[in-house]
Amino acid sequence: MTEPLLSIEGLKTHFFGYDGLVRAVDGVDLEVNPGEVLGLVGESGCGKTVTALSVMRLVDAPGRIVGGTIRFDRRDLLSLSASEMAQVRGAEIAMIFQQPKVSLNPVMRVGRQIAEQFIRRRGMDEAAAWKEAIGLLAAVGIPAPEAKARAYPHELSGGQAQRVMIAIALSLKPKLLIADEPTTALDVTVQAQVLALLRERCKALGTSLILVTHDLGVVAQVADRVAVMYAGQVVEQAPVERLFEAPEHPYTRGLLGSIPVLGALKPRLVEIPGNVPTLDGVSVGCRFAARCGERLRVGSRCETEAPPVIARGPGLQVRCWLADPAAADKERALA
């Protein structure tokens, strides 16, 4: 088995705000293999963006990574110096954001924002870099790339802006691209096109992709593996077919609705009754326990003891007592 490109263990990123501590990311374990597409799903506020920013080491104050390790391509990212980390960004791990129009510098020409990568990171001269930039604009499907290179971001549509962001992100052929809800802010009609482009470009370059999304339909279409986040933790990680066919975590089952059939999915996350626990309290037991319809099957353990990550097979991990072999025995005994 190949070594994972990215492996996150026990990552904790907390916010030390004026109104107290927020444990936005509280023990995330995640793996991305070379060339694969990992879908990262979960309800709003569960910590997907903070996880992504932690990998980039771009969490703004008052947030701070307080624990865990992030290994990328045989290096420990958290022990790199600030300038070493800056070298990794863009060249080895790139990221694109939810709001493409405001992620481009409003006073800089679009072509310049791409060419800059070649000039500053690869020492190319202006003319050669500009030519590369135009080539990339064509590759991401921007019509009349020479003219558009001279345009400013406000002259682009949202879809075009995200295409430009993709061109920038992939300009230095990174090993990993993190796309944080890249199509959420776009018109429905262009969402599919941008997604297809993203997948096609990543495949062409052999770049691994972490696709953060709310949309389970998108995950089913694009992802090789899926990680489901809940309240600052990954509760289940599984190959995509496996996740849709036999979700192990009660939360995942809840997300998929009652009868998960591939191809006949509910496109969006379904509502699960109850509220996500606030991320500022100290929690005992499973974070999902209060909303979990299946906790009785395991008894009171769910409320008193936090479940560990339990490996259930290759690339398949669940954070639930139900997956504990001992629990299965107990269930059999009860039956």
Binding site: A86, V88, G90, F97, L104, E116, Y152
Partner: protein, 311 residues
């Protein structure tokens, strides 16, 4: 773009007429008649009365106000500022080099104010809430509250009397140092506050995070990605401050004996030389209009989002 500039120029026209009207009113409303003071004690009363009549005719003071205004405006628009009541020399001869001196002082202060203000603003914003930020902003508060003339005296005391780096009376370009520092540092205070708040705002924007995600160094992020955006706010305030700088320059010139328009203005008022006074106000106001025009044009160049064709 050129259509935009043309339209801006047309908008400036009524302002110019206003300025002409105001400077003309100075001459029309001034209670002390310069022609009277001109001959005081020099001729017998009868001769004086005759001479005054001739002089009045010469300066068109015997015509209606409206006629006088038209003549006055026509002359000025042809570049004729008249001649000094006192010396009978063309006003332009006296005011020309003085104007250049004042512009020199103002520009030097503007450069000092912009560079010092923007740099301290950037540092304060980048190290927000650190002791550097607090110190810079506290000094800035003093800068904003301190009158220019007082600060000028402080600088004379520190550099000329105490440290003795510069003689009190200096010649040549060195004489520009202290007055330009005085005005420039005073100017740096408001610029620094604006630069700081613009910079803080810009640094929190998505495109700055995106620039970091591209792997740009911190220096590139600040000077290449954030600063051009933050400067939009600074340029506006700089343009407005030029009026302040001109006014401040007038006072500073008197303190430092800098032979500029301000120093001349004080003398002209003492001499009741209204043609010179008029010319000074006219050129000051005209400069202000031009600077604002320049700022508007600079702004459209700095910010590509501004649409020149919009009305």
């Amino acid at each position: 773009m050129s259509a935009y500039i043309a339209r801006r120029l047309m908008l400036a026209a009524p302002v110019v007429v206003g300025i002409l009207l105001v400077t003309f009113l100075i001459q029309a409303l001034i209670p002390a008649d310069a022609v009277n003071t001109m001959f005081q004690g020099q001729l017998s009363d009868d001769d004086a009365a005759e001479a005054i009549k001739v002089m009045r005719a010469k300066y068109n003071l015997d015509r209606s106000w409206f006629e006088q205004f038209l003549i006055y405006s026509a002359n000025i628009l042809q570049g004729d500022l008249g001649e000094s009541i006192r010396t009978r020399q063309p006003v332009i001869d006296e005011i020309g080099y003085r104007y250049l001196n004042t512009i020199q002082l103002t520009l030097a202060s503007l450069v000092i104010g912009a560079v010092v203000g923007v740099l301290t603003g950037i540092v304060a914003a980048y190290k927000k809430d650190s002791w550097l930020d607090v110190t810079a902003m506290t000094i800035g508060l003093f800068g904003i509250s301190m009158p220019a003339f007082f600060f000028g005296l402080v600088l004379i005391f520190v550099f000329a009397v105490w440290l003795q780096w510069l003689p009190v009376i200096v010649q040549g370009w060195q004489s520009l140092i202290l007055p330009a520092l005085t005005l420039g540092l005073i100017e740096a205070a408001p610029v620094s506050r604006i630069a700081r708040s613009s910079m803080i705002e810009v640094l929190s924007r998505e495109y700055i995070r995106a620039a970091r995600a591209k792997g740009m160094s911190e220096a590139t992020v600040i000077f290449h990605h954030a600063l051009p955006n933050a400067l939009l706010g600074v340029v506006t305030i700089l343009g407005l401050q030029v009026g302040n700088l001109l006014g401040g320059a007038f006072i500073i010139e008197v303190i430092f004996g800098w032979r500029g328009m301000g120093e001349l203005a004080v003398k002209a008022i003492q001499w009741r030389d209204f043609t010179i006074t008029q010319a000074i106000i006219l050129m000051g106001a005209g400069t202000y209009v031009l600077v604002n025009l320049a700022v508007d044009i600079l702004y459209t160049w700095l910010d590509p989002r501004i649409d020149y064709s919009a009305t």
